[in-house]
Amino acid sequence: MNTLDAANLGRPTILERFWLRPVDSRRYSLLRIGFAIGCLASLVHQWPHRLDLYSASGMAHNAGIRSGLSWLAVFRVFDSDWAVSVLFVFFAAAMTALLFGFLSRAAMLAVFVWLHASSLQIAPAYTGWDAVLRSVGLVLLLSPLGQIWSVDACLLRRAGRLPSTTAPVYGLYLVQWQIAVMYFVTAALKLSDTYWQSGEFAAYFYMSMFSLFPNPIYAQWQTVSLLLSYFALAAELSLPLLLWCKRTRLLGFVVGGALHVSIAATSIIWVFSVVVLALYPAYLDDEEVQRLVAWAKSRFGRS
């Protein structure tokens, strides 16, 4: 958004200098793509069971639940089996459009409706990754979506116009902040639990219904459990700072990647890992995106 270039800012206030600093628009493109992948993962995960919780013939019935955005509860209106399937296909198409940057703003609006309609409909079956996507969804709805690397950019060029190469940073900061709050609060809540304190959490988790490989041997590997539990706690507490600080960002990506890939590979909550990791590009700065692009060009021969 070139309107926020220094020349147009006049005498910017401190808040403007902080929130509206122009940055490389490709950072938003990466975030848009990651967010769309996270949304698609969540929707595809629910597809085989869509009628169980979304249709009138299913189990959930949230007509009485009220919130400020109840008017977005489209599954209360379109609740027949076929209508639920059609809506799922429509929202999947919107997420795919967002992924490829085709009519990005309209696609983001549709995805925002999905996130809230879904949260209102399946309230008792709500997961952590739904909360992550919904919280980030509001920010992205009000943020630039990255015109670079999109079908919209191709259409603009065909019309003889150039897509914006810069955009104000505020959306990226708010997504970074949201992820940091999530990590920090979840770690703070765990610190007061005796099972986390004793390091027994991992042993119980890997014998629970959430584990892909439950085995009684975890009860004997209490040192391993202690290391895994403390690693998870330390990672959640330190990731906000590791990811924010440029000097430790690579370490943050490695630690966060290790945490979430291990969760995805060993438990049934893989969608959570996909959703959170897909939002990590929000932490990359201009120079890192440039280096990533240069690496991709040298590796794959095109941008």
């Binding site: 006049g10 009628l51 019935h61 955005l69 042993a203 009860a219 209490q222």
Partner: protein
């Protein structure tokens, strides 16, 4: 972008960032506080309400399943799966597990309607159910010391969690 809009955008960004943090501090945003009132209203209107209590303590179940036992007036009994539509078996899909654990333990809103729906579907399948029972079959994880001794992860617990009269409405227990 006009100056006024830029200022408005900056104020919203600052406000949003502050609220999503403060809402997690009960000492500041306790139920009666000004911050809580503002935060609750804002988060509700924007759909940004959030809680990050994911796995804040251990999961208790190694296995979680349910079934529906339907009783006819002539004493006949039949067992059905709990998943609607179709009265299918629970296949471990995490959202359905969350639905039942939440609805059974914390929520009185969804179950009566669910049990009515089950009654209707059982009768639609040709079984003249007069009443139904929702049974859970869980394997509750034992203490690590016990598991270490005999390598048995969990103990089986089956119990009737709800009953409903299919000739009337509502559920009991």
């Amino acid at each position: 972008m006009r100056k006024g809009l830029r200022i408005l955008l900056c104020c919203w960004c600052s406000f949003h960032a502050l609220i999503v943090l403060l809402v997690h501090f009960p000492a500041i945003s306790g139920p009666e506080s000004f911050v809580s009132t503002i935060a609750a209203s804002y988060l509700d209107r924007t759909g940004s309400w959030q809680s990050w209590n994911m796995f804040y303590t251990i999961p208790h179940y190694h296995y979680f399943d349910l079934d529906i036992v339907a009783h006819a007036q002539d004493g006949d009994t039949r067992v059905f799966g709990p998943i609607l539509p179709g009265l299918r078996q629970h296949d471990g899909f995490i959202r359905n597990t969350l639905f039942f654990t939440y609805a059974l333990d914390l929520d009185s809103y969804h179950l009566p309607r669910y049990l009515q729906q089950v009654c209707r579907e059982i009768r639609a399948q040709g079984f003249p159910a007069a009443s139904i029972e929702l049974r859970t079959h869980v394997q509750q994880i034992r203490n690590l010391d016990q598991i270490e001794q005999d390598r048995i992860i969990a103990e089986n617990i089956s119990e009737i969690r709800r009953r409903a009269n299919c000739l009337q409405t509502g559920a009991s227990l």
